[in-house]
């Protein structure tokens, strides 16, 4: 059973004056158990629309979706899900701790569980100092952290996060990335939306790109990264000179030669270097990054 199963999902918003916006068109997507899935797309692509449908805030115009095998729209389906809304807002007359207690009650957690879990998530997101202050006085980033805290409180199997990194400082972003990696270690499923390719690169197993309501591609991130390698940068010592077809050579200080080797020539070049007794000190891939892949897909999708 997949953690998330989306079948032929479409959503058309009706706007005033008889207008229609096709926010989602025939989206089919599955996220396996234990997978970290990045949902990438430019502004207005339909990421939040998909996520709101999953969480039962809006009902689809066509198609179905399930989480943990339960159709969305059924309140029970959210029992095993932790959700972080886009630009979250929480009852601001409550303190962070009171809000977390409220959330725990919604999941039917016992007082002991609540106590332990609250302390844990507040610590993890570095909110202990603000725990007993009303949320009204929280900064944007603090609210975002609280949003993650309340999503993690009941230790769900599935995480649905709408732009988890938005509004966070670099420390916070790093923290969230670490948290997502930890969740993966624990075998949790994470489905998160973003428009930042670098975030996808470091934490995701797979990435789907959505443009104008249509899912363009779904790829394994390691394959994309491998496919994106166009060549290698090789540094050697112990050679005064090297020449090979297609290989660009620069002399660096300290007796170092730097070679730019095309992808298909790497093994051959390494052999040659070895036979001439060179010592290889560094091999680094030169890759076309995910960003340019993303931009390409978006450009394709907009046509």
């Amino acid at each position: 059973m997949n953690a998330i199963d989306i079948r032929n999902l479409s959503k058309t918003y009706r706007t005033r004056k008889w207008g229609r916006v096709d926010a989602l068109q025939d989206l089919t997507l599955s996220v396996g158990k234990g997978e970290v899935f990045g949902f990438l797309g430019p502004n207005g692509a339909g990421k939040s629309t998909t996520i709101k449908t999953l969480m039962g805030l809006i009902s689809p115009s066509a198609g179905t979706a399930q989480m943990a095998g339960v159709p969305v729209g059924d309140a029970r389906c959210r029992m095993k899900v932790g959700y972080l809304p886009e630009n979250p807002a929480f009852y601001d007359f409550l303190t962070a701790r009171e809000y977390l207690r409220f959330v725990a009650a919604m999941f039917g957690m016992s007082p002991q569980e609540t106590q332990a879990a609250t302390g844990k998530v507040l610590g993890l997101l570095e909110l202990e100092g603000a725990a007993d202050r009303p949320i009204r006085g929280f900064s944007k980033g603090m609210v975002q952290r609280l949003g993650l805290a309340q999503a993690m409180l009941h230790d769900p199997e599935i995480y649905v996060l709408d732009e988890p990194m938005s509004g966070l400082d670099p420390l916070g972003r790093a923290l969230v990335k670490n948290i997502i990696r930890d969740l993966k270690q624990q075998g949790k499923t994470v489905f998160f939306s973003t428009h930042i390719t670098a975030d996808v690169e470091v934490v995701c197993d797979r990435v789907g790109v959505i443009v104008k309501g249509k899912l363009q591609t779904v790829n394994a991130v390691h394959e994309l990264l491998a496919a994106g390698v166009v060549g290698y940068q090789v540094q050697v010592t112990g050679l005064s000179d090297f020449s090979g077809e297609g290989v660009e050579v620069t002399v660096r200080g300290g007796g170092i030669l730097e070679l730019q080797v095309p992808r298909e020539l790497l093994s051959l070049t390494l052999e040659k270097l070895g036979s001439r007794g060179a010592e290889i000190t560094l091999i680094e891939p030169n890759r076309q990054d995910l960003e340019s892949f993303f931009l390409e897909v978006v450009a394709q999708g907009k046509k």
Partner: protein, 267 residues
């Protein structure tokens, strides 16, 4: 059950920490404190007047509180985007709405009891200064207060219903005030239309009047001020009917609200 209780508690906290409400309650206490001074103006019926004024003041304050809470119950959650974080918890929308209603109803009752207690002190004080021939019928005063509370809880369900179909604050706010006015006067209009005057009107308009009469809450039966002031007996059967009516009306309205709220989109 836990889910429901937590929602009620959360609603209660929301109400207790609302500044506008603090202001209203301060005004309410002030009004009740003014009752002795005002009732001595009448010179003769000080006790009767103090009861009337206290009950009216409480009624007015409860009206304000009810209309405000009923209208803002769902509106504020939408306006501030709270619903995206709350309705995505595993709570059904029906339970959420029910929790909201019960929280508001409890608060209205609490308000009524607290203000009632304050009024009781004031009434004793002013009647002790100028004793009346009629004894004070505390039981009937309590009953009048209880009926008033029931009335406003009904009105709260009306406000909640309107707020589930609207995105603004003003529509449910003014619609509940409108329903309150119409519901308070509907009995008189009904009797008027049922009598001689109705024969002169077309049968269609009479039917329309009657349909509206049955649709909107009938608040006339909840006005027990006269028995409270003069000790006129109240029939238990009629009383039972009145309170059953309140319960039934709230139940029906909450069912309808739950239906509309559950189908609503929160993009």
């Amino acid at each position: 059950m836990d889910v429901f209780r937590a929602t009620v508690v959360m609603t209660f906290r929301w109400i207790l920490r609302d500044r506008v409400l603090h202001a209203i309650l301060a005004v309410a206490l002030l009004m009740i404190l003014l009752v002795p001074a005002l009732s001595t103006f009448s010179m003769r019926q000080v006790q009767e007047l103090s009861i009337t004024l206290s009950l009216s003041a409480i009624s007015f304050v409860l009206l304000m509180v009810t209309v405000l809470l009923g209208a803002s119950s769902v509106w504020r959650d939408i306006e501030r985007r709270y619903l995206a974080s709350v309705l995505t918890l595993p709570i059904s929308r029906t339970v959420f709405l029910l929790g909201r209603f019960c929280g508001i109803a409890c608060f209205i009752a609490l308000c009524g009891v607290v203000l009632g207690a304050a009024a009781a002190v004031i009434i004793s004080v002013s009647s002790a200064q100028y004793p009346s021939d009629i004894p004070i019928h505390w039981d009937k005063i309590g009953l009048a207060l209880l009926a008033d509370i029931a009335k406003y809880i009904m009105l709260a369900s009306v406000g909640i219903f309107f707020s589930t179909v609207s995105t603004s604050f003003y529509f449910p706010f003014f619609a509940s005030i409108g329903i309150y006015l119409a519901g308070s006067g509907s009995q008189e209009v009904y009797e008027y239309v049922s009598g001689q005057f109705g024969k002169e009107m077309g049968s269609v308009s009479v039917a329309l009047f009657k349909a509206v009469y049955y649709l909107i809450p009938n608040f006339a039966a909840f006005d027990l001020k006269v028995p409270a002031i003069y000790g006129v007996p109240v029939l238990p059967a009629g009383l039972g009917l009145t309170f059953s009516y309140a319960v039934l009306y709230c139940a029906i309205l909450l069912c309808v609200s739950s239906y509309t709220f559950s189908r609503r989109q929160f993009p």
